[in-house]
Symmetry: C2
Subunit: 335 residues, 2 copies
């Protein structure tokens, strides 16, 4: 590829799309041409990236002709339609939706973990689910060192994971509460302010949500290990930014807590935030200013052999989505 | 005891104390005399219970002389001092604090589970922790039927569990946010609005919080089984009322999901709320109007033999505290 890269952001006006533009700017991504795409209703919106003004357009045949890398963050259904068009027109698509993640022909990539898989792409690379990315980053050093037998996961997920409409809905409900007005729900099936919904994405007949099964399946694919045993409960809480996860981990072999802390400390993209006596532990609000995956509350689980508990927090829009996508792009162009 | 019972509410102006008065009224508790106690700063406050007006007073020697049952909801430290006085002056104390829960001479009681233990009291009966009460109620029928080997718990706890000051703090932070002002924290060490704190009660050297260890120890005491293996992560979330819990349960023997639902359905104080396809599952906001312990998201855990996951929600101030205490009192007077 050239020194300057022609980039497209598809879904530019969404919560993740906006972060993609922020991150391209912050990280001085070597943008040649930049194209911003969204649906008809956002056509004409303007954004400034790296000092240049850009206008949002809709996608037409040929839209991706000169594009080197297309960062997609639209829903699964539109991605299934448009990503193959972009790939056919010559772009490498980095897709943030669920559309291609479990496709055997599509690599599912966290750059710090399995960038080598990205080399096998056929025009599309999938970005994992936000909850999966932060979890596998925290698990990988432990997995490599001693192996992992079983995981029990509970998530505490921010509304921004649903998208901009959900951020607006929590915002509106909070205002309605303060003004003594009725709280209205459109994006979620129930009030999200001052509530917890044990429901993210659709339900399957086995009682699990798609989000819960994504965490299982994507983790197995990224670590390339189908023998891992994983169960999850995913819950949405009234937080704007930053997903938290309580992880209960059964390791294959013993590892001391201080060794685990050292391993995590030595891991790129991970930061140990764990001084409970001084009230220092990972918090969603901290993730607004910190792109690292924060791990804390690391402690022995006395209820099982070789067990530990830990608490993992990261910015779901950035490392959980836009940043991971841009990092994949950076690695691609450095190859 | 007489037909009419002389009752004292100690800590009457707190979040739980107020609920105690509400519940005495709602359930037509046969009150003879009622005394309301609090600290100096609340002296003179007035409350109406069952149509009678009462004035809050401070405690003096002899305050409990004519009291049959004293419902305590003050901190652990004052309880340790005042509960023995009340017991010595002839009252039966039902104490909501942590002061006596693990005391071998004090029964720890959930009336639906181990009311027989209450008969052994020496003047003081302890009310379990709010998170423990709702959990053991949901576990008991499974425990009785097939036994439980191991529990992995993650909690999503409301601020009202901390007390009235914490409710006010979340309220203030929400208002500050809407008004574009700075969010100030006094009760919690960090902002609670739009955040999650993996920190309830103090930290021990082993990395656990007191809340997490309470759930383990109290459950073992109530079920009278030290062989249970339990590990917990307790987190505070920006919800006013209603604690939620993600429970991962390893049973001793196989039990089908539909049998578990039937068992829970047949359990007094428990309600199965579990039609995920219709977006029906337990929610903290529902617990404001429902005194049952709600259980939903009941599903097989495919990662372990004889495993299940479930989601348990209850009103932490009512069944988790005030209601459980009044129910103990009701059972005591019916003996």
């Amino acid at each position: 590829m050239n020194n300057k890269i022609n980039v497209a952001v598809v879904g530019a006006t969404g919560a993740v799309g906006r972060e993609m533009m922020n991150i391209l700017e912050e990280r001085n991504f070597p943008i040649g041409q930049l194209k911003l795409f969204a649906t008809e209703k956002s056509k004409g919106k303007k954004f400034t990236v790296q000092g240049e003004d850009y206008v949002v357009d809709t996608i037409k045949p040929g839209s991706f002709k000169d594009v080197d890398i297309a960062l997609f963050s639209i829903g699964s259904t539109p991605s299934k339609k448009i990503a193959p068009q972009a790939a056919e027109e010559g772009a490498v698509v980095i897709d943030n939706s669920n559309a291609f993640r479990m496709d055997d022909n599509v690599p599912l990539v966290v750059p710090e973990i399995n960038m080598e898989a990205a080399g096998q792409h056929n025009g599309i690379i999938a970005n994992p689910n936000c909850s999966t990315i932060q979890m596998v980053l925290a698990l990988k050093p432990i997995y490599d060192q001693v192996g992992i037998k079983r995981l029990v996961i509970s998530t505490y997920q921010a509304v921004s994971g649903t998208g901009k409409d959900a951020i607006d809905e929590l915002e509106k409900q909070i205002k309605a509460y303060v003004n003594g007005e009725e709280l209205e729900s459109e994006v979620y099936p129930h009030q999200i302010a001052f509530n917890v919904l044990p429901h993210i994405d659709i339900f399957y007949d086995n009682g699990y949500t798609k989000e819960e099964l994504k965490m299982e399946r994507e983790t197995k694919k990224i670590l390339n290990d189908d023998s891992l045993r994983i169960t999850a409960t995913a819950a949405r809480i009234p937080v704007f930014y930053g997903h938290a996860e309580a992880l209960n981990i059964e390791m294959e072999e013993e590892l001391e807590i201080k060794e685990i802390k050292q391993l995590l400390d030595d891991t790129q993209g991970v930061e140990v935030v764990d001084v409970p006596g001084e009230e220092v532990y990972p918090l969603p609000v901290q993730s607004e200013e910190n792109d690292q995956v924060m791990v804390g509350r690391i402690r022995k689980d006395f209820s099982v052999d070789k067990g530990i508990n830990m608490w993992v927090v990261a910015n779901n829009l950035r490392k959980g989505a836009a940043l991971n996508a841009v990092q994949i792009a950076e690695e691609l162009i450095s190859i």
